[in-house]
């Protein structure tokens, strides 16, 4: 029986439950129907769930259903996203025939040229209103019900998808919008802003505490974004220049984004009053480099033998305390940087990133570095804006190279989810007959 005939019979069967042949059709049908790509090969090789084994039921429990669940009534059109890992998510959808026909009727004569389409939006750090996404890409769909695995170009992205009909003119007619998902961060946070809290038994007391002393080592995020260190006045702020904001904010966690926004606001509205200049710099300050209250403690004096006693002669008791504190702080390394953390999921820094973290590089260089990373790095952010990067990209790249005569080693590709496709491709090519003349 052809697929078409089978589908027709199933439709009749749903309308008339007593129609012949229903059982065999139901048995072969799978709850998850998958989309196919252009070549007609199924994108996901999910085997249909095997029908449950026939167990010898006791008489008492006869009649309890064991057959696969059937959809009892038509559901409204929907699309649901679920994140799988930092760079991958899953989407499944189901289109109500009524909704689809309603849209098609609006298209009149050109309905046969329209395509069912999934539109995926990058809505990272924005309140999506349907029009303000950073970027989007379309995936053509062949089925009214199915699922896709979609790779992203970066981790820690907020994504939303819509399913609809794309007309020949390129207009998109919405059928359903998905939930929002945020893929996890695949690296450590750059933010070193620390907040502390006291919570006692059964949440009886929850008290936010003042920030801990600032970190000895400034994190790369601080260097680049000039976010004020916790508990310290914001001395320098980045001034927003046109075009810069979006790029730089790609790196920010929501909290960092807020911080940055507040820092910028602060600069524009009420710039901090300058520290009152000291009429005469006390020798203690000059010599010991004790951080003046209200200034970031970037440099601290290192204690050398014999020096301490001499220098402390100049100090008031408060200054001595401050100095002792500063010295302690200097000698206490940041635990996180010292721990030997070997874990497969922790992204390690590149030597270049280490240099950045150690502030050896000027701000412009840092910016340029991240820009370069954006354009030529692991994921092509800039490219995404015009050409969507899906899991097919890597293969098509290889094909292009092959067409141009460049030899591409046939290795098992480790990109998420494309292993099977690679193997299939390799088998297909190896079994392809070479034409003889």
């Amino acid at each position: 029986m052809s697929q078409k005939a089978k589908k027709k019979q199933l439709t009749i069967a749903q309308e008339k439950p007593g129609a012949p042949g229903v059982r065999s059709l139901k048995k072969n049908s799978s709850p998850a129907v998958h989309a196919t790509n252009k070549k007609g090969t199924p994108p996901h090789t999910t085997p249909p769930p095997p029908s449950p084994p026939q167990e010898p039921f006791k008489e008492k429990y006869r009649g309890v259903p064991t057959s696969p669940p059937q959809v009892t009534q038509s559901q409204p059109s929907r699309i649901v996203l679920m994140d799988i890992d930092p760079c991958r998510f899953h989407a499944y959808w189901e289109i109500c025939e009524g909704d689809k026909q309603k849209v098609l009727s609006q298209l009149d004569g050109s309905s046969h040229l329209s395509r069912l389409t999934m539109r995926v939006y990058d809505v990272t750090y924005i309140q999506f209103d349907g029009n303000n996404a950073h970027s989007y890409f379309d995936i053509k769909l062949d089925r009214d019900k199915g699922n896709w695995y979609i790779d992203l170009w970066s981790s820690h992205k907020s994504v939303c998808a819509e399913i609809g009909v794309k007309s020949a003119e390129g207009n998109f007619y919405l059928l359903a919008r998905s939930n929002f998902i945020e893929t996890p961060r695949a690296f450590q946070s750059f933010s070193g802003k620390e907040r502390w809290m006291k919570v006692t038994g059964d949440y009886k007391e929850i008290a936010p505490l003042p920030a801990q002393p600032p970190l000895e080592k400034t994190s790369p995020a601080h260097t680049f974004l000039k976010i004020p260190s916790p508990g310290l006045p914001s001395v320098h702020h980045a001034t927003p220049t046109q075009g810069e904001t979006l790029e730089s904010e790609h790196f920010l966690a929501p909290q960092e984004r807020e911080l940055r926004a507040s820092a910028l606001r602060e600069t524009q509205i009420a710039p901090l009053p300058a520290q009152p200049p000291l009429e005469k710099t006390p020798p203690a300050h000059t010599f010991l480099k004790i951080p003046s209250p209200g200034l970031p403690s970037v440099h601290h004096a290192t204690s050398t033998q014999g020096e301490t006693l001499e220098s402390e002669h100049f100090l008031t008791p408060q200054e001595r305390e401050l100095r002792a504190f500063a010295l302690r702080e200097t000698h206490l390394p940041h635990p996180h940087d010292q721990l030997q953390l070997h874990h497969p999921f922790i992204a390690t820094r590149t030597p270049r990133e280490n240099e950045l973290a150690e502030e050896k590089i000027s701000e412009d260089e840092v910016k340029a570095y991240y820009q370069r990373l954006l354009i030529t790095g692991r994921r092509q952010e800039a490219k995404v804006r015009t050409t969507p990067v899906t899991h097919l990209t890597s293969r098509s790249d290889t094909r292009l190279k092959e067409r141009s005569g460049e030899k591409v080693p046939r290795v098992r590709h480790t990109h998420y989810g494309s292993d099977i496709r690679w193997e299939e491709e390799a088998v297909r090519r190896s079994t392809k007959k070479t034409p003889t003349f």
Partner: protein, 526 residues
């Protein structure tokens, strides 16, 4: 005064498998094997420590499904039948091996273990092992934490927040009913966390949960102490991170202790080794060979060649490994102390069934470890997460990252090509359940009963075990059948409630079959 803490957490879980419609059901053996090999040996170890007045603190998470099965009269009586069969087999083994002293010693050991397990189960604990765990908690040695009702993998059912909320609320209510107090912490199934989950935990009064290492390390902002101190989520709920080093030493198939050549070989069982006619009465009725629990060989090496198991060597090795584990933790804590201005905490969670079932000497290893920590050193102190929070109520505020302890660290094990078909069904059923709960609020009688049963069916379908089994390609048919069965039953109830006609006879049947959470009220899904 100790320099740092070690928090051992044993996560005890089995999916709800109860089939009154069959006299002998293969998957029910999971529970019986775990009782004989894990739960009773662990209880014996913990009681032995109390008998010897050894102060210790250890955490166990007992899932509501496991508690329900351990308290179920049908499964209790079936366990007695099971252990009686095993004793009979062990007696036959004594006879069979009477000429072979090395195997006779082992047969005697198994016979003793089985008879002892039966005595403890029937006489000592009155067929209910939960009373033993409860007693240990009341004595202040064990901290029992809860787990979502049917061990649902929360990140993948969160599309409907009411489904997540119901899983947590039912678990807490069940815990209170069983243990007479509220749980301090929760074990998130498969350590599956997503940002925002903490709000639901706080609503029910849960103070802490456990995350895998990268859930803490990738938190925002960067955690000051890495995963060696807990974090507070913004609402005050604490998150503890798994210590990778201590996990690897026990879990790793290559470097882990359980792979030592002197330990018992799990895969050489007389259920597979002996003649079919001899073993037939002790395997499945349909002739399917199964593991009996009587295993005579040690791991020996990486080849198929195996030598007889020598219990004395294995016990000696367990003691050595306990000492090695303690030594490594001491060094780890000493190193951390040089970098931290507060005592570090190492959180070491393991599946409870690893100890005894997979790793036969595991309970003895725990026994040695606790005794050594108490008597042989001054660096480590055994603690629980709630004790730590009492002593150190000030912690950093961070937003942990999405994580799980599955392969690759995220959701892939529970959402992939082998099991993705279940999610449209589960999500749709959850939406329908919320619709029913809101539409029929305050309804009692038969409709109320039907709605309660619908809630049970949905909860059972949501269990993460089915997706996990489908991925692992073992017993797949059973996992598929269970998912389909529960969703079908749910849909049938939905249709019947909507149509106004409820088949009472059928409803009674499934109430008896899927009888988990008898006190459950469907309005928990509102």
């Amino acid at each position: 005064m100790a320099k740092g803490y070690l928090s051992l957490i044993l996560h005890a879980h089995l999916p709800f498998v109860r089939h009154p419609e069959h006299d002998d059901f293969l998957e029910e053996d999971w529970l019986y094997e775990a009782i004989t090999e894990t739960y009773i040996p662990l209880i014996k170890v913990f009681e032995g420590l109390i008998r010897d007045a050894i102060p210790y603190r250890i955490t166990m998470s007992l899932t509501p499904t496991l508690i329900s099965m351990l308290q179920d009269p049908l499964l209790q009586s079936r366990y007695i039948k099971h252990i009686d069969t095993l004793i009979e087999l062990a007696e036959k083994e004594l006879m069979r091996n009477r000429e072979r002293p090395q195997f006779l010693t082992l047969a005697t050991m198994y016979h003793k273990r089985f008879t002892e397990a039966r005595t403890l189960f029937v006489t000592h604990y009155q067929k209910n092992l939960i009373t033993a765990f409860k007693k240990l908690q009341d004595l202040g040695r064990l901290e029992i934490i809860t787990c979502p009702a049917t061990h649902a993998y929360l990140p993948l059912i969160r599309i409907n927040p009411h489904a997540v909320k119901a899983q947590i609320q039912i678990a807490v209510d069940h815990y209170r009913e069983v243990f007479g107090r509220k749980p301090q912490g929760i074990w998130l199934p498969e350590c599956g966390y997503y940002p925002g989950l903490e709000e639901m935990l706080k609503e029910v009064g849960i103070r802490y949960f456990i995350l895998d290492t990268h859930g803490i390390l990738n938190a925002d902002p960067k955690p000051h102490y890495g995963n060696y101190a807990p974090l507070y989520c913004t609402n005050g709920t604490a998150a503890f991170g798994r210590d990778h080093e201590s996990s690897k030493q026990v879990w790793s198939s290559l470097e882990g202790y359980p792979g030592d050549y002197d330990y018992r070989e799990f895969y050489r069982d007389i259920g597979y080794d002996l003649d079919f006619d001899y073993i037939k009465p002790y395997i499945h009725k349909d002739g399917i060979r199964i593991t009996t629990g009587i295993k005579y060989y040690r791991i020996t090496g990486k080849t198929e060649y195996k030598e007889p198991y020598i219990p004395e060597w294995a016990i000696e090795k367990a003691a050595t490994h306990a000492g090695n584990f303690m030594f490594n933790r001491e060094k780890q804590i000493e190193h951390l102390c040089s970098l931290m201005d507060r005592p570090p905490i190492l959180v070491a969670p393991y599946d409870a069934e690893l100890f005894g079932h997979w790793w036969f000497e595991g309970p003895e290893w725990i026994n040695f470890l606790i005794r050594k920590i108490v008597y042989d050193q001054n660096t480590i102190e055994l603690t629980t997460a709630s004790d730590y929070l009492e002593r150190h109520p000030v912690n950093q505020v961070c937003s942990p990252s999405t994580a799980s302890w599955g392969y690759k660290g995220y959701n892939e094990v529970w959402l992939n090509r082998s099991n993705d078909w279940i999610y449209p069904l589960l999500h749709s059923a959850a939406d329908k359940m919320v619709e029913l709960a809101r539409g029929y609020r305050g309804v009692n009688g038969v409709v109320g009963r039907a709605l309660n049963q619908a809630a049970r069916e949905l909860l059972l379908a949501q269990s993460s075990d089915w997706a996990f089994i489908m991925k692992n390609s073992t017993m797949v048919e059973y996992a598929v059948k269970r998912t389909n069965d529960h969703i079908s039953r749910f849909n049938k109830i939905y249709d019947q409630v909507k149509s106004g006609y409820i088949d009472k006879r059928w409803l009674k049947q499934i109430e008896q079959m899927d009888n988990i959470f008898p006190q459950l009220h469907f309005e928990v899904f509102c």
